[in-house]
């Protein structure tokens, strides 16, 4: 386990709990973001399809409009300046509003105004007035399509950006944050186990030391009390080793008793 791919934390139980919380958060977040990315991609595909359709229609409509202008010029002569010079303000305006797709705000454009329906309808009264109106309508249609296309294109770009960000987040959660948290948790667990083992070993050591001290004390007492106890003197050297092994087994079997009995062990 390398130290690079984990957080630098103190291996304690509290931090472990925090880390576990973060891990479950990361997993949930990953699932949510994945869902969002899917939703965005779905919408993205829809928009793409619509853009292709609109663009194809655009080509046709623009052609038709340009030709309607030709027809109007054929019938009415050069009416361009007459129309240009009587323009006061924009008759078609575009309003921007917002649409919400899975938390991503997408700008949307809409046409305002009816394209100056009332004002110019006497232009070309003497010749070609009808063609001029047809031309106006054709271009109004083209403008509508343009606005729709602008809406779609902007949505396309915004969504593209949003999808990229979301996917980056999804991947980051999946490939960076989660392994790192998992590693940290594993590390903390390892460290905690290690600590436990060390503690256990120390406990044993203390216990055996105490036992040896008690034995020595007893031996001294026996030696001072009854010097002719030859049987005990012969088995003397073997007794500590045997006694040690026995005590380990005893300590392992009921550690809690020993813990409760010995006042040196604080926990």
């Amino acid at each position: 386990m390398s130290t690079q791919n984990r957080y630098v934390v103190a291996p304690t139980v509290t931090v472990l709990a925090v880390m576990k919380g973060r891990l479950s958060g990361a997993i949930k977040g990953h699932a949510l973001l994945k869902k969002k990315a899917d939703a965005l991609t779905l919408r993205f595909r829809q928009i793409l399809k619509k853009i292709v359709q609109t663009k194809q229609e655009m080509g046709k409509t623009m052609r038709a409009s340009a030709f309607a202008y030709t027809e109007a010029r054929y019938a009415a002569g050069d009416f361009k300046h007459t129309v240009f010079d009587s323009v006061e303000g924009a008759s078609v305006k575009v309003a921007a509003s917002q649409d919400n797709v899975a938390g991503v705000k997408i700008p949307k454009f809409e046409r305002l105004g009816n394209g100056g329906e009332t004002k110019m309808n006497l232009t070309g009264l003497g010749a070609g007035g009808q063609q001029i109106q047809t031309c106006r309508k054709a271009y109004l249609k083209a403008t509508d399509l343009l606005i729709e296309l602008a809406s779609l294109q902007t949505a396309f770009l915004t969504l593209d950006e949003a999808i990229k960000t979301t996917n980056r987040r999804v991947n980051a959660l999946d490939n960076v944050v989660r392994p790192k948290l998992e590693n940290t948790i594993a590390y903390i667990k390892g460290e905690l186990d290690e600590l436990e083992r060390e503690e256990f070993f120390r406990l044993k050591k203390v216990q055996s030391k105490k036992k040896r001290d008690a034995d020595l004390l007893q031996k001294e007492k026996e030696a001072s009390g009854a010097n002719d106890h030859s049987k005990v003197a012969n088995g003397g050297p073997a007794a500590p080793a045997d006694g040690f092994m026995g005590s380990v087994k005893k300590a392992a079997s009921n550690l809690l008793d020993a813990v409760g009995a010995d006042e040196d062990i604080v926990f």
Binding site: R73, Y74, D85, G124, L125, G126, G128, G129
Partner: protein, 351 residues
């Protein structure tokens, strides 16, 4: 009157008559149009046109060519021809030729007035004016803010002055009034032109009567057609019709109350020459009307060249050239917009 004209016509007008008939042979023929219709690009069109009278005007145009450039150069050719003839003209032919250009003059006046109302630059507006309709004091039109001032300050010195007496109101100018003003002026102009031709007498009067009557009737038809569904009242509509023509006065009364295309058709068909035109078109084909009317006009204009010793040829030449420019515009646009299947819909063959 025929004999008298033949005796004296060539003394003053023989040269110009020859010139205009020479120009007539420079008009594009059906073969030319067939060639033009085969073109794939605007450069091809230019190449074909360089073989015609338009050659010198288009020869030096650099290559990415636009339809407007072609049309402008072709108009230049007409304007050059016209000014040359006008310079050489003696009275009363000179006056007659001036009359021919008054239509453009009205358009220019209206253009400048509209532009001024919206505070456009006068110099810019002057560039947009039709060169045939220019007059000396045109730039000063910009000072006027209402009809009365316009008349008092500027138009009183122009040939259009008498026509304004009819539309002289102190109402402020707006789009609606301007469009009505344009048509009222045109009506007054046509009436005056017709009277002038009658005064000239002889073959000129005879030929021009026919042409102007057709022009007046066509305007009446167009005004009716284009005012259906607009705010223009019947009385206002009636006032815009000229006081002559085959439809005057009974046809006009019917046209004034017409509310749809079929009613217009009924009114027009009571006049035998127009009945022939309308039978060419199926019911409900109002789109084709323009072309049919242009064809009829061209047919009449071409006939004027069959007559001798009259001024109608000058008028006819101008109109035919304009139709030709319209044809070239149509062909060029079709080629430029890749709509070659529609080419034949717009060409009016002159010869």
């Amino acid at each position: 009157m025929y004999g008298f004209e033949a005796a004296s016509f060539n003394i003053k007008d023989g040269y110009l008559d020859a010139v205009v008939r020479g120009h007539r042979s420079g008009l594009l023929t059906q073969a030319d149009y067939n060639n033009l219709a085969q073109c794939e690009t605007l450069d091809d069109i230019k190449l074909h046109l360089t073989g015609t009278d338009y050659g010198p005007y288009l020869a030096n145009e650099p290559s990415p060519l636009h339809v407007t450039t072609i049309v402008d150069r072709c108009t230049d050719k007409l304007v050059d021809d016209w000014t040359k003839m006008r310079c050489n003209a003696a009275q009363p032919l000179a006056t007659f030729m001036d009359y021919c250009t008054y239509g453009h003059m009205i358009d220019n006046v209206v253009l400048i007035v509209t532009g001024t109302l919206h505070e456009r630059d006068v110099q810019e507006l002057l560039d947009k004016c039709h060169p045939l309709g220019m007059f000396d004091s045109i730039a000063t039109l910009a000072v006027a803010s209402n009809m009365r001032e316009l008349y008092r300050l500027v138009l009183v010195d122009t040939p259009l002055a008498p026509y304004f007496s009819e539309v002289l109101t102190s109402e402020d100018l707006d789009e609606m009034n301007i469009e009505i003003m344009r048509n009222t002026l045109y009506k007054a102009y046509l009436d005056d032109f017709a009277q002038f031709c009658n005064r000239l007498g002889g073959t000129t009067a005879e030929v021009m009567r026919d042409l102007l009557a057709f022009e007046a009737d066509r305007r009446a038809l167009n005004i009716t057609l284009n005012s259906i569904g607009t705010e223009l009242t019947r009385d206002d509509r009636r006032k815009l019709y000229s006081n002559f023509g085959l439809l005057y006065p009974h046809g006009h009364t019917e046209l004034a109350v017409a509310e749809d295309f079929d009613q217009i058709r009924n009114a027009m068909e009571k006049c035998p020459p127009y009945q022939a035109i309308f039978t060419k078109m199926g019911y409900g084909e109002s789109q084709m009307l323009d072309k049919v009317l242009y064809e009829e006009e061209v047919r009449r204009l071409v006939f004027t060249f069959e007559q001798q010793f009259h001024y109608g040829v000058f008028f006819a030449y101008m109109r035919l050239r304009e139709q030709e420019i319209r044809n070239i515009m149509w062909v060029s646009e079709c080629v430029a917009q890749d709509q070659k299947s529609r080419i034949t819909d717009g060409i009016v063959y002159i010869f």
